[in-house]
């Protein structure tokens, strides 16, 4: 059963005369209990998708499309209804744990406020949160609550945020770039953390990352985004071991373990997107057709792919 259905999601930000097309016509489903990954370079629009789900984009963003969560249209919800979903049924683990914690407030308060006005006794909630923190490898959580965020290490902050996000046992957990900016040790810890969340809590997760190792460890299915579009979507093992799209191939070759071959060129300007396939200027296999007609995403070998070449051959 699908927990989340996203249809034709587009996001634009006005910029000067024109607008930046951050996300264009993205559609995918997340099944209950699975871990769905979105991978892509930074700036591919993957984080915007995550924020759009909870309607957390800046006010000047122009969003269109439909998002259906457990039978509810998220874009039609009143603010009060939306608040009931945020943090309780869908929670977000933001990028950059350092920035996501308010430097002026004690950790305990920032955890405790998750339970406010939620029909849960605050004490009981805190008890649960403390237990959760212990489970997530945080030692001495009571003491942590009395400290300020800048007194914690990067890894600790991330666990703290994970504890906040999980404390309501949300139906869907969105993790936005959980390994970005962490040192190798903390990164390894994060991989461990997510494996644990996945195995012990059996949560439905949307994992947004550029970290292929993490995706490999925890994702069931993966969507690859390029220039605001999904270019390939399939089982994780298929994407990572036998990718179909030239961009995915390039991304995997660029991974240190596979020889660190960087992709040549740059992502296209998102204010004025190129004609034809958005990737054709960087694609080693580009045919004439690729620069003329923008490919649609199509079913292919059990997954979905947006490439003319797969069908020309």
């Amino acid at each position: 059963m699908n927990l989340l259905e996203i249809r034709e999601l587009s996001v634009e930000f006005p910029a000067g005369e024109g607008s930046v097309k951050a996300v264009s016509r993205v559609s995918f489903d997340i099944r209950e209990g699975e871990t769905f990954g979105i991978i892509g370079e930074s700036g591919s629009g993957k984080s915007v998708v995550g924020l759009a789900l909870l309607r957390l984009l800046p006010a000047n963003a122009r969003v269109s499309g439909n998002i259906c969560f457990a039978g509810k249209e998220l874009f039609f919800l009143k603010p009060s209804e939306l608040r009931k979903i945020r943090g309780k049924r869908i929670s977000l683990m933001p990028q950059n744990p350092a920035g996501a914690l308010n430097p002026a407030l004690k950790n305990g308060l920032q955890i405790g406020e998750v339970f406010e006005r939620r029909g849960i006794e605050k004490k009981e909630g805190m008890k649960k949160a403390l237990g959760l923190m212990k489970k997530l490898f945080l030692q001495d959580p009571e003491k942590l609550c009395g400290l300020y965020p800048n007194q914690l290490s990067g890894g600790m902050r991330q666990r703290l945020i994970a504890a906040m996000s999980l404390s309501f046992e949300p139906e869907l957990l969105i993790a936005d770039e959980p390994t970005k900016g962490l040192d190798p040790e903390a990164r390894a810890g994060a991989v461990e953390l997510f494996t644990k969340i996945k195995n012990e809590y059996g949560k439905t997760m949307l994992l947004i990352t550029h970290d292929l190792d993490l995706a490999h460890e925890v994702c069931d299915r993966i969507a690859v985004m390029y220039a605001g579009e999904i270019v390939e979507l399939d089982e994780a093992s298929k994407i990572l071991h036998s990718p179909g799209h030239p961009y995915t191939k390039g991304l995997i070759r660029a991974h240190p373990r596979n020889g660190l071959v960087p992709l040549s060129g740059q992502s296209p300007s998102r204010i004025k997107l190129p004609e034809g396939c958005f990737f054709h200027e960087r694609c080693r296999h580009a045919a004439v057709e690729c620069s003329r007609r923008h490919p649609e995403i199509q079913n292919h070998k059990g997954g979905r792919i947006r490439c003319h070449l797969q069908f020309l051959q």
Binding site: P79, R86, P94, L101, V114, E116
Partner: protein
């Protein structure tokens, strides 16, 4: 603790330097001090002042000693609590005069600062929340004029409208609450505009922070987000500006007190300067500088209190 000692040391140094500066400056006035005193004491006698009279006064006030000895004597008297001189005009101890005038100035400056901070902060928040709407634009233009209009002109306009035309409040005077309205309003306008401006900018910057987004993702209502997460952080630059503004405000009291016949230190200073009543000028400067330093000290304490990053940096 060491910080506070250092801080107090610097405050004492500043007060001392300012006193020395004014003392030597004031005594550099052309025309002997004895002559001045004589002029105040026996009105109409200055033409016929005899050598003998001058000598008498000189020895009474120890004016024949070198300046630095006079200054040293003054400092000694001030430190031991003996007093800080006697007014030539009023023939009363300066401390007595200051004590008489201080409450009025504190009342006026305090009321103005309170208005400036309360109105400035709330309007600034409102303006930030309505960014780029019409009300925001109107408020921004208003701030521009608020910081550009001379406060004495504002005071005159207020008198013109509220006292002369509408006859709502008395033109000048001291004692009742209705006397306080116009001077406080005129004096606070500039600081209010400055505070509002900083609040707006800082609020906008804070609202763009990731922890605000995360707080939204937690499902907190907007009011809570602003009051708990945004306000405390956004207030940091505002607190600094309040310290700066205190100087402006104290400078402004001089003109405002003069216009409204407000019996405070400011009008005392202006009168004493015109009358060349040196000990009183010295005393007024001392009082104003001390007030200013004290407020800034309090502001810094507040700042440290608000920002845990400084406390546990």
């Amino acid at each position: 603790m060491r910080y506070f000692l250092k801080r107090f040391g610097f405050m004492a140094l500043t007060v001392f330097a300012v006193c020395a500066l004014t003392f030597f400056l004031m005594n550099a006035i052309p025309g002997g001090t004895a002559e001045l005193i004589l002029k105040h004491t026996f009105v109409g006698l200055e033409e016929s002042a005899t050598e003998e009279q001058l000598n008498q006064i000189s020895s009474r006030y120890n004016l024949d000693d070198p300046l630095y000895i006079q200054f040293f004597r003054w400092v000694k008297a001030a430190v031991t609590g003996e007093g800080i001189g006697t007014s030539y005009v009023f023939r009363k101890p300066v401390l007595y005069l200051l004590a008489l005038r201080l409450p009025a100035t504190i009342q006026l400056a305090g009321a103005s600062m309170a208005i400036a901070v309360l109105a400035g902060v709330s309007l600034g928040i409102y303006s930030a929340l309505r960014e780029n709407r019409i009300s925001d634009h109107i408020l921004r233009v208003a701030t521009l004029f608020g910081v550009s209009m001379p406060c004495f002109w504002v005071a005159l306009l207020l008198i013109l409208v509220f006292s002369l035309k509408l006859k709502l409040v008395p033109v000048a005077g001291y004692g009742s609450l209705e006397n306080l309205f116009l001077p406080a309003a005129a004096l606070s306008l500039h600081s209010m505009a400055a505070v509002m401006r900083v609040t707006r900018t800082s609020m906008l910057e804070t609202l763009g922070q990731e922890y605000i987004r995360f707080a939204k993702a937690k499902g907190l209502p907007l009011r809570k987000i602003i009051s708990r997460h945004a306000l405390k952080n956004a207030m940091l630059p505002v607190v600094t500006v309040i310290g700066f503004q205190m100087g402006n405000l104290l400078g402004g009291t001089i003109v405002i007190e003069k216009i409204f016949a407000w019996p405070g230190i400011g009008s005392l200073l202006v009168d004493s300067i015109s009358a060349r009543d040196l000990p009183v000028v010295q005393g007024c400067v001392l009082a104003i500088v001390s007030m200013f330093l004290l407020v800034n000290f309090l502001v810094d304490m507040l700042y440290t209190h608000l920002d845990p990053r400084i406390r546990y940096g």
